[in-house]
Amino acid sequence: MTVAIDSAPLLQIENLRVYYWTQAGPVKAVDDISFTINPKERFGFIGESGCGKTTTIMAILRLIKRPGRIEGGRILLKGSDILSLNDEEMRQSRWSRISLIPQGAMNSLNPVMRVQDQIADAIVTHRGAVPIRELRERIGDLLETVQLSADVADMYPHELSGGMKQRVCIAMATALEPELIIADEPTSALDVVVQKAVMETLIGVQERLNASMILIGHDMGMTAQVADRVGVMYAGKLVEVAGTRELFRQPQHPYSQALISSLPSIREKKRGGGIPGLPPFLLNPPQNCLFHPRCPHAIAFCRETPPPMHRLRPGHMTACHKLSAPEQFDSAGGSDSGAGAAMAGAGTEASSGHQTR
């Protein structure tokens, strides 16, 4: 790993909670999660849709919209809490310190502005007036770092392919040399061959800037290849955090295990893939361990006690009673397997009971 242990973390998230206040009650989209991101590190989030990945990064950017609200916790960027910044200070930090490459970024380009005007806009808004010659030179350099030729500057978005548009977005997001780049599905909607090339460009820019990166992608293969560390989210909770290799080789949380083994691969043919059941309905989630209705190992203890985040090894955390309180599973003894089988059997679509309240 490229991470120096002694350096202070760039980003520290402590007990972050983000709720959406709906008419039917609060939806705990992000519920008490804590993690850190080190300088120059690439951190990946994986999990099913609706597990809170995008809400987490939107909270880091303070872009949560009503009815959502950050209910508690701290987000420390180099030690200072960005939740205490006023709106103008926050607006200044976005893009210059933390930048976002949003989902479907290529559709976020303004169709009636030339590429260079859009990039210039971002620079001028944050840095104030810049001499035009300097600006042009700057934009030329930026385009070069994302492997686009200089004549792209004079083009309109419709003249570019999807991959090229995505590169323009990368150029814009990194124009102000942020310390943290957040990439939400940066390559979905692109062709496979182009995905790879765009991802390589993004990594190149991130390394050149010595920035850290948070990567969200439903392509877990991509995350496995790119990230240094990975966090697994389930129903608003962080259930496991580990180095990428360790996580993909030896996932410890039953959800991580199921998620990773469900991935189609060209290495082996699998039968009966997928995780039984559905993700919980967040207006009426299961109590305590949120995964217990789908978990093959669940015992009564899991339904009665919330699992704490438990440190298995340095750098490997997971929230599962089987790992933090194995003695409970010993005492459950014979009934363990019975309960487990019953849960698994009930698992098929049973958890849609939560789905439908």
Partner: protein, 323 residues
């Protein structure tokens, strides 16, 4: 000998064109394929956007008409079918589309999906019978009817909606299902469960699939054979094992090399940074379509069109390297 169930012969489709305009380059060119009457299989059509895979799906479903070539269903050209024959064709060849959100009318309960096809194809008039076949179809795709029926589409997850679409197709006892990117909008963890249903329908009910996708990993899991399309032409064809594990055509090699494996020990191979110009390199219309992007391009590739050269008994590649 009985004619094959579905036979596509030298199918070409050009869009646009007209009296005074140059015809556009072909979206699909000289494509042939065959599904046997007695042996169900899952055939994948893979390629990037613009490769012609959705054009093929639309042609096979008779949504659009070919510029040249034929599609024969049980030996009968679908362009020349009588009303009666077309009715049978429409029932026996079913479609599943990409977007599990866009295929529903949000104002109707999901029951309407089943009731509509039951009425249209006159499956039954009786209410109890209607209920029975609907429930049977839902159970085949692993849904519990009492949890789903009576609900509106927005109350269901993407995976459930897509399974309802599979159930709807199954209701009609089709022989072939054309599935155009059926799982690309579904969570990775659920994709395999839907594809598992496809495999079941093939094995238990003898339903063949034309599985159209850009994702070679899922194709590898369920297909029997695969066509790799580029610029409307077949680059490589063969049994799935051969094409994925031992790709011969340079384009297939590029595609297979771009697959991300969920394995941190396998890093991407090949070029560290590709020029973006390569992504948009125009398709060569005079010779090999892949000429402008091919690392092995030779002079003759610019103007000569390679045939399908046999590599193994079950695999062909359209590339002069294998002449």
């Amino acid at each position: 000998m009985a004619p094959p169930l579905l036979e596509i012969r030298d199918l070409t489709k050009r869009y646009g064109g007209g009296l005074f305009r140059q015809p556009s380059p072909p979206a699909l060119e000289d494509f042939s394929l065959r599904f046997a009457e007695d042996e169900a299989k899952i055939t994948t059509i893979a390629g990037e956007s613009g490769s012609g895979k959705t054009t093929l799906a639309n042609l096979a479903l008779d949504f659009i008409h070919p510029t040249s070539g034929q599609i024969l269903y049980r030996g009968q050209d679908i362009a020349e079918m009588s009303r009666r024959e077309r009715f049978v064709f429409r029932r026996e060849v079913q479609a599943i589309f990409q977007d599990p959100f866009g295929t529903y009318n949000p104002f109707y309960k999901v029951d309407a999906v089943f009731n509509t096809v039951i009425q249209k194809f006159k499956l039954t008039n009786e209410r109890s019978e209607r209920r029975r076949i609907t429930e049977e179809a839902m159970e085949v795709v692993g849904l519990r009817p009492n949890e789903i029926l009576g609900k509106y589409p927005h109350e269901l997850s993407g995976g459930q909606r897509q399974r309802i679409m599979v159930a709807r197709a199954f209701l009609l006892k089709p022989r072939i299902i054309v599935a155009d990117e059926p799982v690309s909008m579904i969570d990775a963890s659920l994709q395999m469960r839907i594809l598992e249903i496809f495999r079941n329908l093939k094995e238990e009910y003898g339903i063949s699939f034309l599985y159209i996708t850009h994702d070679l990993s899922t194709a590898y899991q369920i297909s029997d054979d695969i066509y790799i399309l580029y610029g409307g032409s077949v680059m490589e064809y063969g049994d799935i094992e051969g094409v994925i594990q031992d790709p011969h055509h340079p384009y297939t090699q590029l595609l297979v090399g771009s697959i991300t494996l969920p394995d941190p020990d396998v890093r991407w191979e090949g070029r560290s940074a590709s020029a973006s110009s390569e992504e948009t390199a125009a398709i060569n219309l005079n010779g090999c379509k892949f000429y402008h992007r091919c690392p092995h391009a030779m002079e003759r590739c610019a103007s000569g069109t390679p045939q399908n050269y046999r590599i193994t008994p079950k695999q062909t590649a359209s590339c002069f390297l294998f002449e």
